[in-house]
Symmetry: C2
Amino acid sequence: MDRTRRAEEAIGACSLLVGYGPYLDSIADLCAGRQTLSSGMRQETERCRAALEAATEGAVVGLISSGDAGVYGMAGLAMEMAAAEGFAVAIEVIAGVSAANAAAAQLGAPLMLDSATISLSDLLVPWETIVERLQAVAAADLVVSLYNPRSKKRRHQLDDAAAIFRAVRPLTTPVGIVTAASRAEQQVVHSDLGHFLDEEIGMTSIVIIGNRSTRLIAGRMVTPRGYY
Amino acid sequence: MDRTRRAEEAIGACSLLVGYGPYLDSIADLCAGRQTLSSGMRQETERCRAALEAATEGAVVGLISSGDAGVYGMAGLAMEMAAAEGFAVAIEVIAGVSAANAAAAQLGAPLMLDSATISLSDLLVPWETIVERLQAVAAADLVVSLYNPRSKKRRHQLDDAAAIFRAVRPLTTPVGIVTAASRAEQQVVHSDLGHFLDEEIGMTSIVIIGNRSTRLIAGRMVTPRGYY
């Protein structure tokens, strides 16, 4: 498992664990003997408020994210909400292995050099802003890890992103797709910029698009550091 | 410690551990009872070759990086060298907590949204390429984590990077500096775009420059997700 010893130790000191149901299920061994409070997707603010309320009342609370809580996770929301709603609690962030890093390790070593991380979800960020970022990153030849690439209702964003990268990188540029990274049902697919839209890609997928140096070495996606 | 259970288990299966001396020292408990081979800085290729040679002869070898071996680490070099020099060995990459993620957790939650990771070392990448990337990332309002920001001999790169960001972001933009992240001697400094060059910054520092939304919340650096 990708979880860190530091996270395990911190959870060991908690009296209450709060999180999205499947995240708590994935640490069932650590939940045993502790109070837990789970909730569904898109209930981030309720979950966060419940955690802050319990902490205010004296509980040591673990607010569980998948990957790294500081990357599209709950860490920032907890700090924002504590300040905005006046919860006087101490908040510690425990770093984790982010989904992009976990995906990269499965693909090979695509993130060896400079890279960017961009979410294609336009629920909270205007789509025009995301397009500007994709264009800047594509032109600057950065490897990119795309979070939230596609959902059932959200299809055009990944098509648009592909078009932006196809305009400036060869269609043979390696593209890796890892779905459910570090979980039992994990899927790893190697494709390229010309073909990757044909693959199965969903909300739990990370799509990594190589730069002009990235290549397949013995079937693995590698961005060479330049020793060779 | 930030090390993962997966890494500990993998090391448990190794007969030989190879790495830069201080990295092996930091996992002394896992080195006990195992053969080790340490070497100095800038001997990456020799270290990697020794690991591959031992693996070819049948050893199960752990090639130890700090942070995430797939981010400016040894993973890519091992794959490149195995292919280029004909070592027929199986290579598995174990993802870790990258230095940027570890630094972010100490600062607050600056990497909650889209961000980029750029190394200011121009040993292997032309400085003009790095400047182009900094300019693109600055203009696209991405939070940026700078690796290898400064060394004793390399001073102008961080000054130039600061100038690029000062041209497009307010001088009050939060900047966080974490030196020796996750180690006993760790230092955490909060500054801003106008003043951060005055701080002590070295080769083991990560400098995180916020975007136009990043702000200090109760003394922590947070890039809000937009719930508030």
